[in-house]
C-alpha cells in the first residue's frame, strides 16, 4: 500500500502505518452480532405490527415467510462481497413476482387499509369499496409475505452490510406509527424491542459513520486525523450496540415490573392534558395562526394574549360537546349570563382587534385614576347594580375543565382575587393551571340595566362624611372639578342617583365610580364609535337608515335598547342562522357580505353586524366572545344541596355577542344572534336546511327563522342529536370558545390533519434528500471511474471536459469557439485567479495531443491534469457564495 506522510513545519513526520494490538485476543463475532441485531429488529417490527391489528391473514404462511426471509438475508449478509449478487438476484425475483401478483397485492393493500381505517375511525365503513371478502385472507397474506420480503431485505442490508438507521427507520417507523397515530395500543414488549433495535443501530452508525474505505482493516488517515476502518477487526461497535439494546430492554422490563407491581393507572390530569393538546392540535389552522398558537400554548399551560380575531376564515363550526368550564352560582339567574373572555374594540372589515396601545397611552392618566381608586371600568355595572337594586352579592366561581387561552368573567362580577384587569377590556388570571376563580357577582343584563337607568341628570353630592373623602378631594382637585363645601356635582343616569337603595345615603364607592364613569364615558364615545370609512359601511348604513335615523331621539337606555332590538329584528329577517355559512371572500367586508350576499351566519356574524349597526346608531359597542349560560340551565339537575347551581359549560355554549355601553352604567351584553335569548340557544338540531339565496339584495325577503326554545335536556333526548354527538366525538371535531366561528374545518372523515401533512412533508423531504444523495453518489463514482480507468488519453480528455464544465459553471462557455480561443479567453479571464497562468492552456494542449497525437501522453501529463482539475474545482468552491456552493455540490455535482 502506498504510504502517505504528513510533514509539518517542525519537520516531524507521522507515518500512516498505525498498528493496534491487544493483550488478550478474542474471537470476533462482529458480523454475527449484527445479524442477531437485525433479526431482533425484523421480528420485533413484524410482531408489533401484526399484534396491533387483528388482520385476517394466514398466520402460518406469514410466519414461515418471515422465518425464511430472515434466515436467507441473515446468511447472505454474512457472505461479504457476494451479498451484492445474492441481494440483487433476490430483488429481481421480488420485482418480477410482485409485478405478476400486482392485482392481489393492490387488493391486499386495500383490505389492510380498510381494516386500519375502520379501527382508527371506530366505524364499520370501508374506505375502498367493491372488494371481494373471499379474497381478503389470500390477498392480505400475499401482501404480508411481500412486505416481509422487502422489509427483511432493508433491515439486513442496512444493519449488517452497511449499518445505517435512516433507511431502516424510513421503512419500519410507518408500520409502528400507523397504529400509534390512530391510538391503537402497541404491545409493550415487541414495541420496546423495536426501540432497542433502532437505538442499537444508531449506536453502530454513530461509532462507524463514514468509515467505509474498503480494503483490509486498520486505520485510515485524513490530514492529522486517524480513524479505524469499518473492517477493523478489533472494533467494538457491535458490542456497544448490544449494550444499548440490553440497557433498553432491562430498563423497560424494570419499568414494566414496577408498573405491574404498583398497578399503575394513568392519572386523570395527564388524560385531561392529552385531551387539551389534541384539541389544540386539531384546531390549529394556518388561516388563524395566532389563535392556533394561543390554543396550543394554553394547552401547554401558558396563556398568550390575542389581540386580533379574524373573521370569516372558516366555512363551518363543529362542536365536540366536551365540558370547557364548570360554573357555580350561589343562586339562580333569571336571564342569560354572558361569561366574557375577549373584547374586540376596532372593526377593520376582516377582523376585530383591540384599540391601539397608543390610545391607551394617551389616556394613561384616566386608567391610572381607575387603578388608584381600585375601581375598574369592568367593575362599574356591579357597583351601580348593587347601589340601585340593593341586591346582595351572589358568588360566582368558575373552574376551567381544560386549559383555555383566556380567563372568563361574567358581566356584573367584581372583586375577583388574583385577577389582573386588562385596561377596559377583560381580565386575566394570575393563577397558573386549571384553578378555580371566585367573584362577587350581581346578575347584569341590558334589560335590567335599562330598568334602573333614566335620563341624564346633574346632581350634587356631599362627601363630607364619606370614608373615601380624601380620595374624592384628591381626584376632584386633580381634575379641576369644583368641590366647594365638600360636595361635588356630576352627571348621573341612575333613576335613584348615587344613593343606596338600602341605606338611602350617598355611597362613597359609587360616588367615586360615578366620577370615574363621567371621565371614562368620554373615552368610550371617542373610541368605540369608530367604523371604517368604506363603501361597504355606507351600503349598510343606507340599508338600515330608516332605523338608524331614529337614534337621534333615542337618548335613554330604554330607547336605545328598543332601537337595537329593532335592528336585531331587521337582521334576523334578512339572514338565517347556520353553523356552516362558508368562508367570507378575502376581498369583502365581513358584515356587508353577511348581510347582503351570503345572508347566512352564526353568532360571530350576528354579533359583528350588531356592533357595527350599534355604532352607526351612535351607541358605543364592542364585539365580545366567551360562553353563554341561559336561565333554563338553572334547574333541578344543576342544583346543589346548598341551593347553589353548578353548570357544566360545554364547547357548544361558546358564543359571540355585542356589548353596548349604557351611559352612567357601563358595558352590558346585547344579543343580536337569531335564536339566542335569555332562555334559549340555537342548537344544531334546529338548523334550517333551507338553501340561502345568494346574489340578491332583497334583504326584506321574509325568511322563516323561528328559534326553537329547546332546553339542553330536550335536545339531548333527540336521537338525531345523540348520533351527531357520537360521530363528532369519534372523529374529534372540535371548536374553541375564543375562536367561535373561526375554527378550521374539522376533519370528520379522517382526512389529512396537520400532523399528517407534517409527517408527509418530512417523509417527502427525507426521500428527496435520499434521492439527491444517491444521484450525487452515482455521478461522483462515475466521474472517478472515468478519471482513473482506461487509457491515459481517454482519461485526460475526460479531465479536460470536466475542466470545461467548471469553467462553464463560473460563466465561461466554449460555445462555438475553437479550443485555443476558448483557452486563451479562459486564461485571460481566470488565469491567476482560479489557476496559475498558462495552466489551462497546458491542459488544453495535453488534451489535444491526447486526442489527435500519435503517441500516448506521459503519466506526468495525466498527473498534472488531475491535479489541475482538483485544484481548480476546489478553488471555485472556496470562492463561491454559500448558495453557489450548494448548487455546485448538490445540483451540478461538480465537486
Amino acid at each position: 500500500m502506498k504510504k502517505n506522510r504528513s510533514v509539518n513545519n517542525s519537520g516531524i513526520e507521522i507515518c500512516d502505518s498505525i498498528t493496534m494490538s491487544v493483550r488478550r485476543r478474542k474471537i470476533n463475532f462482529r458480523k454475527i452480532t449484527l445479524a442477531l441485531l437485525a433479526t431482533l429488529g425484523f421480528y420485533s417490527v413484524a410482531l408489533s405490527f401484526l399484534e396491533m391489528f387483528g388482520f385476517s391473514y394466514d398466520a402460518g404462511v406469514v410466519i414461515a415467510a418471515i422465518l425464511i426471509f430472515s434466515l436467507f438475508y441473515a446468511i447472505i449478509s454474512l457472505t461479504g462481497k457476494k451479498f451484492v449478487w445474492f441481494a440483487s438476484a433476490s430483488l429481481i425475483v421480488f420485482s418480477v413476482l410482485a409485478l405478476r401478483n400486482m392485482d392481489h397485492l393492490t387488493d391486499g393493500f386495500k383490505f389492510v387499509y380498510n381494516f386500519i381505517y375502520k379501527i382508527s375511525n371506530h366505524r364499520e365503513i370501508n374506505y375502498f369499496k367493491h372488494l371481494d371478502p373471499d379474497l381478503e385472507v389470500t390477498c392480505t397474506t400475499l401482501l404480508f409475505v411481500f412486505a416481509a420480503w422487502f422489509i427483511s431485505f432493508v433491515i439486513y442490508t442496512f444493519t449488517v452490510v452497511r449499518p445505517n438507521p435512516i433507511p431502516v427507520i424510513i421503512v419500519t417507523f410507518p408500520l409502528i406509527e400507523v397504529g400509534l397515530y390512530n391510538g391503537i395500543e402497541l404491545p409493550v414488549f415487541p414495541g420496546i424491542l423495536v426501540i432497542a433495535y433502532w437505538f442499537g443501530l444508531l449506536s453502530v452508525y454513530g461509532n462507524d459513520a463514514g468509515r467505509y474505505n474498503g480494503g483490509e482493516g486498520g486505520f485510515i488517515r485524513k490530514g492529522d486525523n486517524f480513524a479505524p476502518k469499518r473492517n477493523m477487526r478489533l472494533k467494538v461497535t457491535e458490542q456497544c450496540a448490544m449494550i444499548v439494546v440490553s440497557v433498553i430492554v432491562v430498563a423497560a422490563a424494570a419499568a414494566l415490573c414496577v408498573m405491574k407491581a404498583t398497578d399503575y393507572k394513568r392519572s386523570e390530569s395527564v388524560d385531561n392534558k392529552r385531551s387539551e393538546i389534541k384539541h389544540a392540535v386539531n384546531s390549529f389552522s394556518v388561516n388563524d395562526i395566532d389563535a392556533g398558537i394561543a390554543e396550543l400554548t394554553a394547552a401547554l399551560g401558558m396563556k398568550v394574549n390575542i389581540n386580533k380575531l379574524p373573521l370569516g376564515i372558516t366555512d363551518r363550526v363543529n362542536y365536540k360537546h366536551i365540558t370547557d368550564l364548570e360554573a357555580t352560582f350561589s343562586g339562580a339567574c333569571d336571564g342569560a349570563v354572558y361569561i366574557k373572555g375577549y373584547t374586540g374594540g376596532i372593526y377593520t372589515g376582516r377582523e376585530w382587534e383591540n384599540l391601539d396601545n397608543e390610545v391607551y397611552d394617551v389616556n394613561k392618566e384616566m386608567f391610572d385614576d381607575f387603578e388608584n381608586a381600585n375601581i375598574y371600568p369592568q367593575d362599574l355595572p356591579h357597583i351601580f347594580m348593587e347601589l340601585a337594586t340593593g341586591e346582595d352579592d351572589k358568588t360566582f366561581s368558575l373552574e376551567e375543565k381544560r386549559s383555555t387561552v383566556r380567563t372568563y368573567v361574567p358581566y356584573g362580577a367584581a372583586g375577583g382575587e388574583d385577577l389582573e384587569y386588562d385596561r377596559d377590556l377583560s381580565v386575566s388570571s394570575q393563577k397558573k393551571g386549571n384553578e378555580k376563580y371566585s367573584y362577587d357577582f350581581i346578575y347584569t343584563s341590558a334589560n335590567n340595566a335599562a330598568g334602573i337607568l333614566g335620563e341624564k341628570q346633574s346632581a350634587e353630592y356631599s362627601f363630607l362624611d364619606l370614608e373615601n373623602r380624601e380620595q374624592i378631594i384628591d381626584f376632584t382637585e386633580k381634575k379641576g372639578i369644583p368641590n366647594r363645601y365638600n360636595s361635588v356635582s356630576l352627571d348621573v343616569y341612575l333613576k335613584n342617583g348615587l344613593k343606596s337603595v338600602k341605606t338611602g345615603a350617598t355611597d362613597g364607592n359609587a360616588l367615586m365610580a360615578g366620577l370615574l364613569e363621567n371621565e371614562y364615558r368620554e373615552f368610550v364615545y371617542d373610541n368605540y364609535l369608530y367604523l371604517p370609512d368604506t363603501d361597504s359601511m355606507a351600503e349598510i348604513y343606507d340599508a338600515f337608515s330608516d332605523i338608524l335615523e331614529k337614534s337621534k331621539t333615542a337618548v335613554t337606555a330604554k330607547s336605545k335598547i328598543e332601537l337595537l332590538k329593532e335592528l336585531r329584528d331587521r337582521i334576523s329577517s334578512m339572514t338565517e342562522y347556520t353553523l356552516s355559512p362558508g368562508r367570507t371572500p378575502s376581498n369583502r367586508d365581513f358584515v356587508n357580505y353577511f348581510l347582503f350576499e351570503n345572508r347566512k351566519g352564526y353568532c360571530s356574524h350576528f354579533a359583528s353586524a350588531g356592533a357595527v349597526l350599534a355604532r352607526m346608531a351612535g351607541i358605543p359597542s364592542r364585539y365580545a366572545v366567551g360562553y353563554i349560560v341561559i336561565s333554563t340551565d338553572f334547574n333541578e339537575n344543576t342544583k346543589n344541596g346548598d341551593g347553589s347551581y353548578t353548570i357544566k359549560v360545554a364547547d357548544d355554549r361558546s358564543h359571540a355577542w355585542t356589548e353596548i355601553y349604557l351611559d352612567g352604567f357601563g358595558w352590558v351584553p346585547f344579543e343580536f344572534t337569531t335564536g339566542f335569548s335569555d332562555s334559549s340557544v340555537f342548537s344544531q338540531s334546529q338548523m334550517t336546511t333551507t338553501p340561502a339565496v345568494s346574489g340578491t339584495t332583497d334583504f326584506t325577503r321574509p325568511t322563516v327563522n323561528t328559534p326553537l326554545q329547546n332546553s339542553d335536556s330536550e335536545r339531548a333526548d333527540k336521537p338525531g342529536t345523540q348520533t351527531l354527538t357520537a360521530a363528532v366525538t369519534q372523529t374529534e371535531t372540535v371548536s374553541s370558545p375564543p375562536n367561535t366561528g373561526n375554527l378550521p374545518e374539522a376533519n370528520e372523515n379522517g382526512g389529512i390533519s396537520v400532523i399528517s401533512i407534517c409527517i408527509f412533508c418530512v417523509l417527502s423531504l427525507a426521500v428527496l434528500t435520499l434521492l439527491v444523495f444517491i444521484r450525487r453518489f452515482i455521478i461522483l463514482r462515475n466521474r472517478k471511474k472515468r478519471f482513473s480507468e482506461g487509457g491515459i488519453s481517454g482519461r485526460i480528455i475526460e479531465i479536460y471536459f470536466y475542466a470545461e464544465k467548471l469553467l462553464a459553471f463560473i460563466g465561461e462557455n466554449r460555445e462555438n469557439r475553437s479550443y485555443s480561443e476558448f483557452a486563451a479567453a479562459a486564461e485571460e479571464k481566470y488565469g491567476g485567479r482560479y489557476f496559475e497562468k498558462g495552466e489551462f492552456i497546458r491542459l488544453k494542449d495535453i488534451a489535444i495531443q491526447s486526442s489527435f497525437g500519435r503517441s500516448e501522453p506521459e503519466l506526468e501529463d495525466l498527473a498534472f491534469s488531475l491535479d489541475f482539475a482538483e485544484r481548480f474545482a476546489k478553488k471555485i468552491y472556496r470562492n463561491s457564495k454559500l448558495y453557489r456552493k450548494f448548487y455546485m455540490k448538490i445540483i451540478a455535482v461538480l465537486i
Binding site: 513545519n9 513526520e13 420496546i192 486525523n225
Partner: protein, 397 residues
Amino acid sequence: MVSMKILIILLIFVCAAFFVLYVGDFSLVLLITVIALPIVMFIMLLSVKLRSRVNIILSSDTASKKEVFDITLCVDNKSVIPVGKAVAVVDYYNVFNDEINSFELSFPILPRNSQKITLQISSAFCGLLKINCAFIEIYDPMRIFRMKIGKNTGKSIVIMPDCDDIYGIVSDIKYGNDESTVFSPDYPGDDPSEVFDLRDYVPGDKLNRIHWKLSSKSRDLIVKEYSYPIDSDSVIFLDLSFTDDSEYVLPLYDTLVELFTSLSRLLISNGRFCTLVYYNYAEKGFARRTIDSAEDLGVVIKEIFLSFSDDLYMEPFENYFSDTEFLKTSSFTLVTAEFDEKLMQRIDRSVFADIINIFVAVKTSDDARKFSGSYSDINIMPVVAGRINSIEKSFEI
C-alpha cells in the same frame, strides 16, 4: 456528539409528549426507557474512566535525524464496558521551536483488555522531541457523553544531529601550561607525572629518561617520554540564542548544532580534544565541557537538548567574556546565527587565540553573500541553513 445530545433531549420531549397523547402502557415505558438510557450511559462511561489507565512508550530515548521510531499509546481498560470510540489528541513538538502540532487518533477500547497503538514518527531536524498525549476522549456506546482520560501523559526523545564531513585544517599550535592536568595527545613534554610514550634510545637522550627496568628485559635501551601539559587547544562557543521566529528557526538550530558536531568530530578524528562553551538553560549559566571522544560528544549533545526548557531566556553572550577575562586557547570558534560588529570587537579584545573562526548560520545564500570580508584576524564564515557542506573558504581550527 452534539447532535446525539440534541437528539436525545428531543426524544425525551417527544416521548413526554407521546406519553401525554398516547393512552397505553407503551408510552410510559418508552418515556422511562428514554430517560434511563442517558443516565445508564453516563454511569457506564464513568466506570470506564475510573478503571482505565493510559501510558506512552517510546522505542528509544534517542534517534537520528530522519530515523523512524515507534511511539506506543498503551490503554488499559479494566472495566467490562467497551468504548466504541475514543479519540486521543497527541501533541508533539521540537523544543527548538514553540510550534505545537497535534494529531487525533480515533480507536476503539476493548473491555477487560490492554491494547497498544503504535505510530511511527521521524524528525527532519535534531533537537528534543516532546510527545504528549493531551487527553483521550472516551464516548459512551450511544455517544451522548464524553469524558477525558490520560491527561498530559508525555515522553520525550532526543533527535541526534547528523555529522557532516567538514574540510578544515587542524592547527598544530598549542599552548603549554605546567599547571594543567590536560596533556597533549600528540606531543611529548617534560611533565614527569604522566608518561607520554616509550621509544628506543637515541643518542643525546637524557639518562634519567631511560626506563631501566624495561630496558633490562629487552636488548635495547628504552627511553620514557614525558607528557606535555597543555591548555585546551580548541574552544568552540555554541551560541544557540537568536531572535528569529520565522520558519527558519528549526533549520538554523539544526545547522548550529550540526556545525558544532561536525567541528568537534573533525577535532576528535585528528586526535584533538575541544572544549565546548554553551548556555545551559536548565542551570541558567554558561557551561564548559571538554570533549575528547565521540561518546563525550553524544553525552554533551544530549545535555544541550535536555537543558532546553520552555523558558528560553539566555544571558547575553558577552557576559561569558566579562567573567572570563582572557580566553587563552590555540583556536577559538564561535558558532552562532546572529552576527554583529560589537560582538566581533568583544571577541577581539577578550579572546587570546591564534585562530579565531566565526561560523554564522544564515537563512539563504543571499544572506551568505553579505559576509564578504573578514574582521581583523577573525575568520568569518557564513553557513547556509541545512547546507554545512556549502562552506567554501578553507579554515584552520
